[in-house]
Symmetry: C2
């Protein structure tokens, strides 16, 4: 609890205020509500699309300008060129880490574990704030533009989620819309829907993969599923695609500086390998295994390093974080500049005028065949082509078909080892950082290595090294992130090659299985590290051995229906539970559980004080209070809503006079009258092991699939009043 | 209940037999279980893929042979050609309707509403039998090959589901695997997972759209979602794609007769329109509206006709069904042969040697520009090109780009009206029938019409009529079936054109919204007609006004823990409820709900008789019975499993002697000890309207999302024994 992580209330609290609100709403309101939802989906799409375009534009321009300048200078002096290169990188990385540490600490890292946590039902304060959004956008421009071994895709997902959450909130706090309008997205559930849209929009923007975005949101981040939402999420993704596409079309005319190429598909390899033969399955399986091993190793190493950083290094304050990032930038610059220097250049292959690939590429342009520290003009440096280049171009080169023998095995191996190490070390610095693009680079390098080997062995077959590079990329991502369907679809969408789908799938199956043998996925590991309590889709095996009563453990702290303010305060002070059962005492002495009271709602009542009463009796509906106050409820739903991404009120913030403490509150109108309940376990045979052990599995599923926060374990009921079956739920209109 | 529709038990009954079974299972078993699941997913994929290839091959060969023969004959006599054409169609349709009526009545129609029902939790007896599978495969070869206005895609989904279900069962009843092996897929829940795989495999096979298949299963048919399953479903889909692709590759060498062309993508239009401008959004929106209107009209008309058929025409027996189908075949043949005769031929456009399109197409081949009843050689009949052709080719022609001015508006309009009417009339005959391909034909016709108009109006733009045809197809399917994400993805996958995704989406948004204003989707309407009680994703508005107690209604019929056999029999005879609460009487006179007993389990107990006892006391675990019989439970789980797709035992099948009737059964070991319970509603203020009205919404969601069959409404509990939160579910290992 010290960490400030708290569950969200995805369950709608159906208290009196809620009911009043619903009753006031007409049919028109429902239509309006739906319309606003769609409108917001549109806005999220446009916003995320624009943010993505902005980030892409900036990164490409910074990086392009950097490389152009460096190349211009090294014509005269390699030392001067090196210094300029290092300096530019350093400035960019410094600005990134400075923004993040000083201004938006929650913007560090990829943000996907946090978003995953949010959609799983736990809130990490600060992750969806405006400053986080700003920090994420500008931070990732700096860190990616500065040439670190990280990507901008993860941060874009976080960006999308921030935009979505801010929109949902912005309606209420910033733009002062009409009061009935505000109340639309005030529940955690509505916000969750928006954030889901934002998350899909982020992936869609990052990879220009609308279907992949929807599937990513569905598979990787959400822990529940609503078919109504799917369509809206898809709509958002498509809007993103349209926005990005339009912006790209506009850039084609050259108005965007260094940012020019790149259409709707990022790394088009649709002209790659047409067909594959059965002999190739073996090397492909090998790629899968390598991906699983390297991916699992990556997860493990980053976990250790992040653990060490978190518990030792970063405890020393922001200055250390800044120095660390700058140091890593320095190392990265030295390696990416220095290693290609050591590499001998190769002569250009014979030109193929059809392909449009020039060797060496013309100065100041992107492309294959970088001429770097070569003695002759018609030579290129294969290591520089992948190392001393923007990531996008490096990947395009690695994926490229029809360029057999472009790379030497030695260069690829050098690159693999160095880049892998850099990626591991860079992960966890205090800058926005995604792991997709580094993963693709690592994977496609060893994929291409295997491909080269395959080309050598199976001489007769029509094999493209680029295909193997793609499979390698898929295998590494699969082995590290353990995504399945969404990753497949994203790979297909970014490469525009549907034919390779079964192969990608095969490789993913293997790499995921291999990786799962060692550890959990990257995001799960990171969530564990940050102690984000994710509920996985399957309960742990130990759950099988546990009864609901055992699981819930301690004595329950509950409230009576009418409670003294002093008691409320002392109970709230004495623990930090967030929900309390409310027990009513009937006149005949029996007790009755009438609902669940949330801590946050209690705090609102304590702060507003309007519901305090002098009498310790329940307020009688037939009494004067009802007659004078037709609405009965003095609160609107919106008062109970805690602001997004903040801790909300605390009991220590509330000041009460001693008079106040002597008063009472009747909790009945404010509690959730229909909490979820499960009967305690029955053990039929006390003598032998009880046979009713599986209840907790069921409770787990109930909890997770419905996104609950509290479940009451109650005594077995004495009778059944009614029985609901399918027929009862199908009322004919 | 007369209809034999009963809910499935997707909830696992955790009775003693189940527990015994689980306890005996080691870690190894879990691995084995997972392996078998994947193996079955593989088998389903292969099976469905082969079935699809077989159907496609047969249809193409029958149809190809038919057209080739007809064309050969009409060189001499149009009358003879017509007669032969009619006769072949008649024979094919007759064989189809004969197989279905005589042998597999459940194979009629598309089967998707039934599968949807199955995955929603209701079982229609007979839909997943082996004979249904056979009827479906051969029936759809006949009906599609016979040229009726229906498709083979819906039936393929049903075929996939049948294969999956049979595999799950086959393990148990046919191949006599070892007894521990059998018990793997014996619960309805496991079968549901398999059928989901089969369903996705069917779509994947029908459209060669693996991603679309997964999304179809997710969006359209299942009502719940497990992220673990998604990966397996996707695997199955990909296997199907591989199988189909391999078979196609094999056919390219010409070994498959008339079946030759067609690769992984069915109607490749990737060389279509590159870009679109804002002016085009208006005509596209118009297409969306038309799609919504025509789709809703289609649903309404088919509903009426199917209603009439069901309640009047088809009551007269199978002979009527056969005559009806033959009559429709006759009409279809006459129209598709006769109308092109009335149409004047157009001269061929100038040949473009690059495109490879010949005009007129060479005799005996497929392609554009059919020369039919033309006076000159260099002419073609545009109506015959779409009408007197296989559906696949007609659609390819309609979608084709670079063939502006191929069709006259008059021909397209004629075709639209005639084919729409034929599709409406054909729907509901007793043959396997899908609505995808007819929908695509109808939609692409009016789409192309709009496209022609747009080409005329916006003269300067680079517009392809084929793009509009595609959008038209999407709009009609969206307006009729109301699918969203899956339809988008299927359209993209079958046309291999990712660029059009946002346009397809726009059109679908509009057509679905327009259609929804009039009626429900095609499958929902048909499910309603067949009284399949589908639980929709959202509860009806009326649910809001209902309390759980009101919904459940009548007096509950329950059993005591130890019950007299005679009582069981009389209770089971007196009603047809499928679940009964079991109430135990404690020594102190209090009662306690100890679980839920299923009718089907009671029937098994009555039939086997081994659990009958003479004493009316609960069997004491410390008594001799436990000592002598260490397993206590004389039943294995598999005994309680009812065979798939059949009604199972009935109380009227069970014969008991009068001695038996005097004995007792202790139900405790057989009941489900952890049924779902909800507390009855509390009304705080009896004087005013109760404010606890929303409970039923919650109950509905609980019921649907967890796939329940029974929920007990119980009195409010008197105390809370424990409280479960997220923390309690996160046990650290
Ligand atoms: N009213 C209560 N009385 C007794 N024990 C409670 C009560 N509420 C919660 N607990 C127990 O205290 C522990 C932590 O409670 P807490 O309310 O902080 O839940 P949590 O899992 O941290 O979720 P949240 O994010 O809502 O705080 C859990 O083991 C829970 O069973
Ligand atoms: N044991 C019972 N005692 C009293 N009423 C019951 C009982 N079981 C079911 N009912 C009621 O009888 C009606 C129909 O019961 P039935 O058991 O046939 O359920 P159903 O909705 O048809 O589902 P199923 O497919 O399981 O048969 C429902 O309204 C239900 O509330
Ligand atoms: Mg807590
Ligand atoms: Mg029934």
């Amino acid at each position: 609890d010290e960490s400030g992580i708290e569950s969200l209330d995805y369950e709608v609290i159906e208290n009196y205020a809620y009911w009043e609100e619903q009753a006031q709403r007409g049919k028109l309101y429902v239509g309006y509500y739906v319309m606003v939802k769609w409108f917001f989906a549109l806005l999220i799409g446009i916003g995320t699309g624009l943010a993505a375009v902005f980030i892409n534009l900036s990164v490409e321009n910074f990086a392009g300008w950097k490389f152009a300048l460096t190349f211009a200078i090294i014509q005269k002096s390699y030392v001067a060129g090196f210094l300029v290169y290092v300096l530019i990188n350093l400035v960019l990385v410094f600005s990134s880490v400075y923004i993040v540490t000083q201004f938006a600490p929650a913007a560090a890292g990829s943000g996907i574990p946090e978003i995953k946590g949010y959609l799983n039902g736990v809130d990490m304060p600060g992750i969806l704030l405006f400053r986080t959004l700003i920090g994420k956008i500008f931070g990732s421009i700096g860190s990616v533009g500065g040439g670190l071994a990280l990507g901008k895709e993860g941060p874009l997902v976080h960006t999308g989620a921030c935009i979505a959450s801010l929109l949902g909130q912005g309606g209420s706090s910033k733009y002062h819309l009409r009061s009935r309008w505000l109340q639309i997205f005030n529940s955690d559930r509505d916000r969750r829907d928006l954030v889901t849209c934002g998350c899909a929009a982020g992936v869609s923007a990052a990879f220009r993969a609308p279907v992949g975005g929807v599937l990513f949101a569905l598979e990787e981040v959400t822990s529940w599923w609503k078919s109504q939402l799917m369509w809206r999420v898809f709509f958002t993704s498509a809007i993103v695609a349209v926005v990005v596409r339009t912006a790209m079309g506009w850039c084609k005319s050259g108005k965007c500086g260094h940012f020019g190429s790149g259409g709707f598909i990022i790394w088009d390899i649709s002209d790659g390998q047409e067909d594959y033969s059965f002999e190739e399955f073996l090397p492909m399986a090998v790629i899968g295994v390598i991906g699983g091993l390297l991916g699992a190793l990556f997860n493990q190493l980053t976990f250790y390093i992040a653990y060490w950083r978190r518990n030792y290094l970063h405890k020393n304050g922001n200055r250390v974080k800044i120095i660390e990032a700058c140091l890593i930038s320095l190392i990265t610059s030295i390696i990416s500049f220095g290693l290609p220097l050591l590499r001998k250049c190769s002569p250009c292959p014979e030109a193929d005028p059809d392909s449009g690939i020039e060797c060496p590429r013309p100065p100041g342009m992107y492309g294959n065949y970088v001429n770097f520290y070569c003695s002759k003009d018609k030579e290129y440096n294969d290591l520089a082509t992948i190392f001393f280049n923007t990531q996008d171009d490096a990947i395009r080169n690695l994926f490229s078909a029809k360029t057999i023998h472009e790379y030497s095995a030695q260069s690829l191996l050098t690159f693999l080892v160095m880049f892998y190490s850099l990626a591991v070390v860079t992960f966890g610095t205090a800058v926005p950082a995604g792991q997709f693009v580094p993963g693709i680079m690592i994977g496609s390098t060893y994929g291409r290595l295997v491909g080269m080997f395959v080309v050598k062995v199976y001489k007769k077959l029509n094999i493209e090294e680029g295909t193997y590079a793609l499979l390698g990329a898929a295998s590494f991502l699969g082995g590290s992130m353990r995504m399945t369907v969404s990753l497949c679809v994203i790979m297909v969408e970014i490469t525009n090659n549907l034919k390779l789908l079964p192969l990608i799938m095969l490789v993913l199956l293997i790499s995921k299985a291999v990786g799962d043998a060692f550890n959990e996925g990257l995001y799960e590991e990171q969530a564990r590290l940050r102690s984000i309590p994710l509920l996985e889709s399957r309960p742990k095996y130990q759950m099988r051995k546990m009864t609901a009563k055992e699981a819930s453990g301690k004595r329950v702290i509950s409230f009576p229906r009418v409670v003294k303010v002093a008691d409320v305060v002392s109970i709230l002070r004495s623990n930090n539970h967030n929900g309390f059962p409310v027990i009513d005492h009937e006149r005949n002495g029996e007790t009755l559980v009438i609902g669940l009271m949330l801590r946050s709602h209690l705090l609102v009542l304590l702060q507003s004080k309007v519901d305090f009463q002098h009498s310790p009796l329940p307020c009688d509906p037939r009494a004067s209070r009802f007659l004078t106050d037709p609405l009965y409820c003095r609160h609107t739903i919106s008062e109970f809503v805690k602001p997004a991404s903040s801790k909300g009120l605390s009991i220590h913030d509330i000041r009460l006079s001693s008079d106040d403490l002597e008063m009472y509150i009747d909790l009945a109108p404010f509690l959730n009258p229909s909490p979820f309940i499960v009967p305690e376990d029955m053990s039929l045979t006390k003598a032998r092991i009880s046979f009713m052990l599986h209840l907790m599995m069921q409770v787990y599923n109930l909890f997770r699939q419905l996104g609950l926060r509290h479940i009451f374990v109650v005594p077995r009921p004495s009778r059944v009043i009614g029985l609901i079956t399918r027929k009862d739920l199908l009322i004919e209109v």
